[in-house]
Assembly symmetry: C2
Homo-oligomer: 235 residues x 2
DNA sequence: CAAATTTTTTGGTATGATCAAATCTAACAC
DNA sequence: GTGTTAGATTTGATCATACCAAAAAATTTG
């Protein structure tokens, strides 16, 4: 709830104006904003306020403010929201059970995805999934590459419904869970096991069998979780 | 992606320190932060930097900075992340298809939820769901109350897995989609129709039949979507 | 014309001042 | 003793100015 407190900040009008310009396309993606000194002229405020406005905009993901550079306009996508929420989530992941809760959510969503894939995936998606699976198989010996193809395989699942929200969710899961994953020991045996799990999922989708697909996916991710648990203990 | 650019901001150490204090419980929830002048003393930086740090913290949801008040520590929950991401998402919802994509995501997730409810819901959850359903029925004549009990019914679905991430997701959906929903005409007939849909979902869960539950839920939400569409046209 | 160098611009930070809202303090009435 | 209120003080918000170092632009140089 955005609680208004009677008085607004002086930076507010500046933010709103720039927000509108971005929204209306006046300021387009990648374009640098006017200089701070120019903006203080334009809005008749001090530089303090201009900088305050910049920071508000950047916290909303509308501009990207690299330290000593001109702020750059950035029209947000769903994944920008993930970026912004990231720092908060990472705080919560350190709470007891935080990672587990997030991982369970991932299992639930991917279970839904594979069901959807099994019932509705079009030919093109199946092809993409098959390609990802083969790349995964080819990478069994190279753990780093396997990690990437593993992520890619799951990413394809999120692409299947052709809903841009879902890839953003996938990005959220990977970036938020990665710290706990990337420290895990990588073993070819384990890679092979994971590849087989992917293959089982793929085949269930191919057979248009949502129940098997979901079961295979759950097996896979729950096994992955117990691996994590074995590595880190209770988290 | 948190792109590091060689040089860090001077506010960074301040942010990190306070972040840690909040995290470690040194600064507890609801407690006001030290004054700006005190902080500049403590960290040996100018007030500019202290204020910059405050802005960063508040953009991360770790402190709540009401305009003329002392910033207040706020230990973030998953729903804080929703708050922070909110302004971005609302920007994107105005893009063509934005609302539809979000709504489709909601359908997918709730479909997964009712499946889960049908297979794993414990007795207590069933009771809660039944209570929500009855409240919903009792409110058919009062559209405003019906709206609330409707939301409540769905909220119970998100509570069933006892995973705090899910209620946060529900909050996200409701707050982000509410603007489009709340303008809809409320009619007792429509309420009754929605109640019947809820009842069908509940009964399928009671029968431990995930397929029927999912089907009933999809019917329900897709009908709701076509109502929205009939009201607003293509969005 | 391209590369290196100088100049100008611009963002980051520090200081100090002013103002109004909050907060604290103390006098005061009941 | 308690609650209220007027006054003093603190404190956040904003402004103005200055300085520095990095970036960008302009200029010289090979």
């Amino acid at each position: 709830m955005a609680s208004q407190d009677g008085v607004g900040r002086a930076a507010d009008p500046v933010v709103r104006s720039i927000e509108e310009d971005i929204h209306s396309g006046e300021l387009t993606d990648g374009q640098p904003l006017p200089t701070e000194r120019h903006l203080m002229d334009k809005f008749g405020v001090s530089r303090t306020v201009v900088r305050e406005a910049m920071r508000l905009l950047s916290s909303r993901g509308l501009v990207e403010a690299r330290p000593r550079h001109r702020p750059v306009v950035r029209k947000p996508g769903f994944d920008t929201a993930v970026d912004v929420a990231g720092s908060i989530v990472s705080h919560m992941l350190s709470l007891p059970g935080g990672v587990k809760n997030l991982f369970d959510t991932r299992i639930m969503i991917e279970a839904a995805l594979v069901r959807q894939a099994a019932t509705h995936a079009d030919k093109q998606s199946i092809v993409a999934l098959k390609a990802a699976l083969e790349a995964n198989e080819a990478a069994v010996a190279d753990s780093e590459l396997f990690y990437q193809t593993d992520m890619r395989f799951h990413a394809v699942l999120y692409d299947i419904p052709k809903n841009p929200v879902l890839p953003a969710i996938h990005k959220a899961f990977t970036t938020w869970l990665a710290p706990h994953w990337s420290q895990m020991p990588r073993l070819p045996d384990r890679n092979r096991e994971n590849y087989r799990a992917h293959k089982a999922i793929f085949e269930a989708i191919l057979m248009r069998d949502p129940d098997s697909a979901e079961a295979a996916l759950r097996d896979h991710l729950e096994a992955a979780w117990s691996q994590v648990r074995a590595t880190f203990g209770d988290i």
